[in-house]
Symmetry: C2
Subunit: 167 residues, 2 copies
Amino acid sequence: MRSPSKPNAPKQGAAATPAQVTTVEHTLDTSYLESLLGYNARRAALSVIALFLKRMAPFGLKPVEFSVLTLIAHNPGITSRQTCSALDILPPNLVGIIKSLDQRGLIIRKAHPTDGRAQGLHLSAQGRRLQNEAQMTATALEGDAAHALTPAELDKLKALLRKVYQN
Amino acid sequence: MRSPSKPNAPKQGAAATPAQVTTVEHTLDTSYLESLLGYNARRAALSVIALFLKRMAPFGLKPVEFSVLTLIAHNPGITSRQTCSALDILPPNLVGIIKSLDQRGLIIRKAHPTDGRAQGLHLSAQGRRLQNEAQMTATALEGDAAHALTPAELDKLKALLRKVYQN
DNA sequence: TATTGTTATACTCTATAACTATA
DNA sequence: TATAGTTATAGAGTATAACAATA
């Protein structure tokens, strides 16, 4: 997470000391790194995810688990393989997640109607309830994670981000 | 990485099949996830970083190593502790990075002028050359990572991202 | 022959506790 | 007493190879 411990950011009231700054003043030059898309995207993502983790803790859901649950909710009968493609997860790494959600009684694995190898994923009644509450929490979190942005700016930001990673 | 294997994205030419889609058509509904800031920020960050990793491989630099090297280049004499704060890295995790850069002859650790516990970090001549080339590569990468965006959109995106994680 | 779900496994990243030497 | 750098270590996340069952 590493959130509540960042006493950085150039204090505005810092009376411009001439040249030699021998004191413990954190007047570091990070301007170049802050000009890079990857650096900014990663820092922003970690910041939002830190808040996500805190708010989702009561539901026992980490980001990927929420994504999987939400994907199943909106696509009943989806297979593991499709879930992997959609979320860019490797199949071996999804196995444990699915197993965990299954053991918690949140999802149900049914035999696939046409493909004997695959299995369709569905939410249980309990899973539907939890996903519904979690989704409302995630939606409410949006404004808080980007409290420095106007709603229009937030929409613009998300649209630009999608243009970066889609195709 | 997980880049060269994403045959997702709703194909435009897909003739709208009525209702029952039993074929292996990946018409998954990911619209809700794509409405979330955290999801979009993470996907975009991973996409940019994947390209970064590829382009920086010739220099033997991973994102964090590049960040550390660049921070030292622009702030000669910076301490490990300051580096940790600026990049949101935990001290134990920086030790190995510094040690590696030192053993590669890219940085030099000098005794801190006033604090006997600390040590100032500096680039060697070789480190300066490598950082310079890597920085030019990173700058050139910007446009390619966000080829779907105009230069103005890219600037706007980075400004919005900074507003999310700063303060 | 190719694909789905799976196991086993390795490698990286991130996090906590505790030590030493200096302040 | 607090801080800088460090060690050791645990836990999460991410990656590859290989297998059985089915297509």
